[in-house]
Symmetry: C2
Subunit: 732 residues, 2 copies
């Protein structure tokens, strides 16, 4: 009784120290969460499902021999996948040990850690040399960090089970050396650990989590405040720098998804161990904001393709972690439950349980509110941004994105002012994303293929203008990294007329670019349409290429084209053009060219202004691709020759119905009869659109002095227009 009292007093007086010094698990899983999970099993079927999935991994591990191979292979190769599987198994067994108390799970983790501890001191650098930042267990140290991230958690779960002597072996021969390797092992690792980049986030989180398990203040401080512990680098400074005030991550949505995993997990670890830092409230709750922003950067449950990106859905484990942790730390954000409901998967921790409980309790699940948004880029929100225009509901919503950001670090692409269009549940005008086959070893060791640089990163791979067949900033990373596009205005106040306007003045010498894109709903048309004004300004002659990469099957054009028959040639020799097969060429004899295709059960048309200097090219990706690394996607490119100042004026229109099951077709031709640019100077650009029903519409954008409260006057061929704000749209 006396002893109990003593402990009790001690707990009250030094709760923080005690937890760290003597109590495990202490980092991600907590004793309180373990107790709650034990009490909850059987009550929340979807949480049970996640638990039993984890248990299946752990139980399978127990039936297998423990193999810790000497590292050898690249991504997707045997030793790569084995070490990955090992940390997943250790993590699963660690958590299962906590919840079931079954010693076999702990024994597994202990034995595997001891095997690692045996080989680790003898390991040199990984034999594959395709990364600048090689790991020891993996070809890149990033994967070593992910290994330690999971392994520190597993060790935390079985800490109390392992004898002191074994712990010393594991800590001294494995965990501490690996944490030291990641943060300070060589110049490249040191640089990565202190870098503003998702690799830094992983490295800091792994080292920091190890620090908390071992109660090692040195490691914790390095992780939080950088190697010099001055706060100029490290996790906290990443929260300041890598996210914009709107929660946009500068590398783009795909890497925001990847980095949100260590960001949120390590933040939860910090919250559990240093609650005084109020990490989730830090910088106006930047992490919670970042989770919402990430989800906004998606269509139909898939994260947008921008910069280096592959297909990723809400069901990825990193977004499960992010949603559960975000919900636990702000249960008022009920719309996260919509995402959790789509995921049908939870972290087997207190955060997952809390989310599952709330989801079960919620009778009616509020839909996540996808909004038209501008997410500014840059620490201070001054480096351009991405705009998302949306209209309609649910998975059939129309969504247009415009990218006008900074370069996006090493995963950025040379594409300023790119648009992408999603409609009817599908990608319609696409950003190619990355050329990579993640973890498929025969494909460049699972890393980015050479075509990622030669095609995917180049300007011509995107729905934006390439000048003189040369990429933005001539494809020079350092140069591109110094600049960013600018948002001119963003206006979503009228849900029927939403406009984004952005400029890029540095990508090309002597050519200034601005793009104004509007998502508009007019009564006469069934679906919303996109108006696009791409204005180029120069005092010298250039070639402007304005391509669209469409998903679907070509249907018709209003111009004659010549398609190659038995011989096909690549379009160029560099800046991505070498990868485009030239399938057909055309000249438009009308003032507008019209191109129609279908995707699933809907037709789409691009109608754009053309003149005698316009060439039209129909392209197919895949030339100069010796290893079959590219997808053979189709495009249409409008080329303006011998142009100094030039404006492309375009309408992109979903229309009609193609129902193959009911055998019903309607509206397979564009409703746009004509487009005219009726005014175009540095102050205003005006386009007049005539529909096939002879209705006429006028769209005017302001090109400078952006001010939503300013009154404008303009005389358009005897038709005076006055308006307040940055744009004008009206049926005339």
């Amino acid at each position: 009784m006396r002893k109990f009292l003593l402990i009790h007093i001690f707990l009250i007086a030094f709760p923080f120290i005690l937890i760290n010094a003597n109590q495990h698990p202490c980092i991600f899983l907590t004793p309180k969460a373990v107790k709650e999970i034990k009490a909850s099993l059987g009550k929340y079927p979807t949480f049970d499902k996640s638990y039993y999935e984890l248990k299946a991994i752990a139980d399978k591990a127990l039936t297998e021999p423990i193999i810790v191979p000497i590292p050898h292979d690249g991504g997707g190769g045997y030793t790569h996948e084995k070490h990955k599987n090992n940390y997943y198994q250790m993590n699963a067994c660690g958590i299962l040990y906590q919840i079931t108390g079954k010693k076999e799970y702990a024994e597994f983790v202990k034995n595997m850690l001891l095997k690692y501890a045996e080989i680790y001191p003898g390991l040199g650098m990984h034999p594959m040399t395709i990364s600048n930042v090689r790991g020891k267990l993996f070809w890149q140290s990033l994967n070593d960090a992910v290994w330690l991230f999971h392994t520190s958690n597993a060790y935390d779960c079985v800490y109390n089970y392992i004898s002191k002597s074994d712990r010393q072996k594991i800590e001294n021969q494995l965990l501490l050396p690996e944490a030291e390797f990641l943060s300070n092992g060589n110049a490249a690792n040191y640089e990565t650990f202190n870098k503003m980049h998702n690799h830094g986030t992983w490295s800091q989180s792994a080292v920091g989590m190890t620090g908390f398990v071992l109660n090692n203040k040195d490691l914790i401080d390095r992780a939080l405040y950088g190697s010099k512990k001055d706060g100029k680098t490290g996790f906290i400074s990443q929260l300041n720098v890598l996210f914009s005030p709107d929660g946009y991550f500068t590398e783009g949505p795909y890497y925001q998804r990847y980095s949100i995993w260590p960001f949120m997990t390590f933040a939860q670890v910090i919250q559990n161990n240093k609650p005084e830092l109020k990490i989730f409230e830090y910088r106006d709750s930047i992490l919670l904001k970042a989770v919402n922003t990430l989800i906004q950067c998606s269509y139909n449950g898939e994260i947008f393709y921008m910069n280096d990106a592959l297909q990723k859905t809400f069901k990825t484990q990193e977004i499960v972690y992010a949603v559960d942790i975000a919900y636990k730390n702000n249960p008022s954000n009920k719309q996260l439950l919509d995402i959790a409901n789509q995921q049908q998967s939870f972290t087997v921790t207190g955060e997952g349980l809390a989310t599952a409980k709330a989801l079960k309790k919620q009778k009616v699940i509020d839909s996540f509110k996808y909004k038209s948004s501008l997410f500014r880029d840059g620490e201070k929100g001054e480096n351009g941004g991405i705009a998302i225009l949306r209209t309609g509901e649910g998975d059939k919503q129309t969504c247009l994105t415009l990218k006008a950001t900074s370069h996006g670090l090493s995963h950025g692409h040379y594409d300023k002012l790119t648009i992408a269009l999603y409609d009817n549940g599908h990608s319609i005008l696409s950003d190619y994303g990355a050329a990579r086959f993640l973890n498929i070893e025969p494909k460049s060791g699972g890393g980015y293929t050479t075509e990622n640089h030669s095609w995917a990163q180049q300007t011509i791979a995107h729905n934006t203008v390439t000048v003189d067949q040369t990429s933005d900033f001539q494809g020079n990373f350092n140069l591109s990294s110094k600049h960013h596009s600018d948002i001119q205005y963003f206006d979503n106040e009228n849900p029927k007329i939403q406009v984004i306007s952005a400029s890029e003045n540095n990508a090309y010498k002597n050519v200034k670019m601005q793009r104004t894109t509007a998502l508009i709903k007019v009564d006469e048309l069934e679906f919303p349409v996109i108006l696009d004004l791409f204005r180029l300004k120069s005092d010298s002659l250039h070639i402007y290429d304005y391509p669209f990469y469409y998903q679907g099957q070509m249907v018709s054009t209003n111009f004659d084209y010549t398609k190659v028959t038995s011989t096909m040639k690549a379009m160029g020799s560099n800046f991505g053009y070498q990868h485009l097969w030239l399938e057909a060429t055309a000249k438009s004899t009308k003032p507008t060219a019209d191109f129609t295709w279908y995707n699933e059960n809907r037709f789409y048309s691009i109608t754009t202004t053309t003149d005698k200097n316009t060439d039209i090219f129909l392209t197919r990706l895949g030339a100069n691709d010796p290893d079959f690394n590219l997808r053979n996607e189709a495009g249409i490119m409008f080329r303006q020759n011998n142009a100094s100042n030039h404006t492309f004026a375009t309408v992109i229109e979903p229309h009609g119905l193609y129902d193959l099951n009911r055998e019903i077709t309607s509206g397979f031709t564009s409703n746009i009869e004509n487009i005219e640019i009726i005014f175009d100077n540095d102050e205003f650009t005006a386009m007049k659109i005539t529909s096939v029903n002879a209705k006429k519409y006028l769209f005017v954008t302001v090109n400078k002095d952006f001010d939503k409260n300013k009154t404008r006057k303009i005389l358009l061929s005897n038709y005076p227009v006055s308006f307040t704000g940055n744009y004008y749209f009206k049926e005339i």
Copy 2:
């Protein structure tokens, strides 16, 4: 009272005549069904849904002006879609009038019919001349028949509402002339009406249904027994000829789906009006059998691609009709409820209601039992057939088809012994199907495009062997129609080893072909594998091309290849080769060539025997395609040069996992180390397969004297094998 008694007696004495003469609706919808539907609304939510969908069509019709344009356009064009919409609207309004009694619906049908009656006498042949059998309302008379099929039903529903004088106008100026036109309007129509072809089925059904509505014995007899009423043509004789004893329709599954609509609907009309014919019991219940066979010819809810075929799912209205009518006429076939449950749609007739009621009553819905099946082709089942080998459950099942039928009438392709593979919910090795954009007018008027003949029908478009770069039967329809392949044996007794063997001896002069394909599950491999022995026999030298058209992204090969870089050429100039871009060429330096790709989250490998005379080509569809009508699909082709007798021995293997969401990859290389043909003569072929785990398997097929009870002995390089039956498979 006296009067009532008289009628009553009359009813008993002449029930059949009276119903036809005075009671409507009498053909598809019946007064009894109307009464039941009225009483059931609100009780069966899925049936209600179908009812309200039909009501929405009818209600929309009431808000629109009645427009009956002079026919002008092709499929998908304005007048085409308008006349189609008109018959759907009349049909909907007719049924709605019966159920609600609301006169506006009947008035709509009457007024539209009167408008048709006004223009019909003045109509010549449809102005478009792309069909040999032109209609009056549509570019092909087939669509006229579909129009009359729906319109006769609508007229039946509102018959009693319309005044006698209006009826005379409608009957004499529209329905009778159109029925006469279809059955006897000109030589082409007469031929079609009496043809063994789905166009004949439509024509007979439309004319017959009109006959029953008008109580016109002449039309009824023409429909049932042909123009000469001798039973040599007409609906009844089609039941004898177009279906094999197994319920397989000779044009293939796609047109079985299309023709099942008039077959089942007109059969129900016959059942309602001439129950004494016992039409659903006719020829061992051939129609009910045909519905089951049609559903067997599908994977994951999609009808197989064979011959001319587009994507069609169970949700098409024709399969809704077929399932509801089949279920009503044989309620013991409970597995049809699984299909109805997937459809979630019902005919708004007694048949749909009966199915919906049964579905609601059924607590546990039995899954439709997809079986490994051989469906024989030909009136007597003697014209070859298609084999379907299946293993596994549900939508992840592995399914292999082999086509060894007769030509398949005008929609047949020149592909003997073609295989197709489905796995993991997807098409893996595909039959191209048809080159057609149904109802998209700018695409060849919505009809088959020229590439349907120049590519899709040619042998090289299929996963089978082309000899000397020339199609089967030199692509000659009349010649091909005279012959058929033969089934040698089909054995599905052992669910772990299922084998189909077929031969083709007429497609090429001097070359005899036989293909033996097995779907096998062995313990060491996670997924079932396909063994393929394609044996060619000739006494002269030939070139044998053995292609596979794969869906997915190429991963790796075990041979070096040279891929074109900046110039790509078509492979040939005719028989389909002109449409293949030659992307890469290779020689295999090993005894087997291995090609790996992935589709969704699984890898696939083709491993095949090669020698110094084998060329390997990697191809991409799309050359000589001036109108962008082809899908750019990828293929691999093994070419055996200077060969007389030659056998291709191949293993097709699903393997591994590619989970991009969890970032887990495993088993990305084939498990097949080697394949050897260790014995090959006219009696036996034996292949030895060695796995990467050094396990060895022997597969022997009998090449003649097929008999499942016969005992065989063969000495394979000092290894004596004896077995009973047609094949032998064992780990050795």
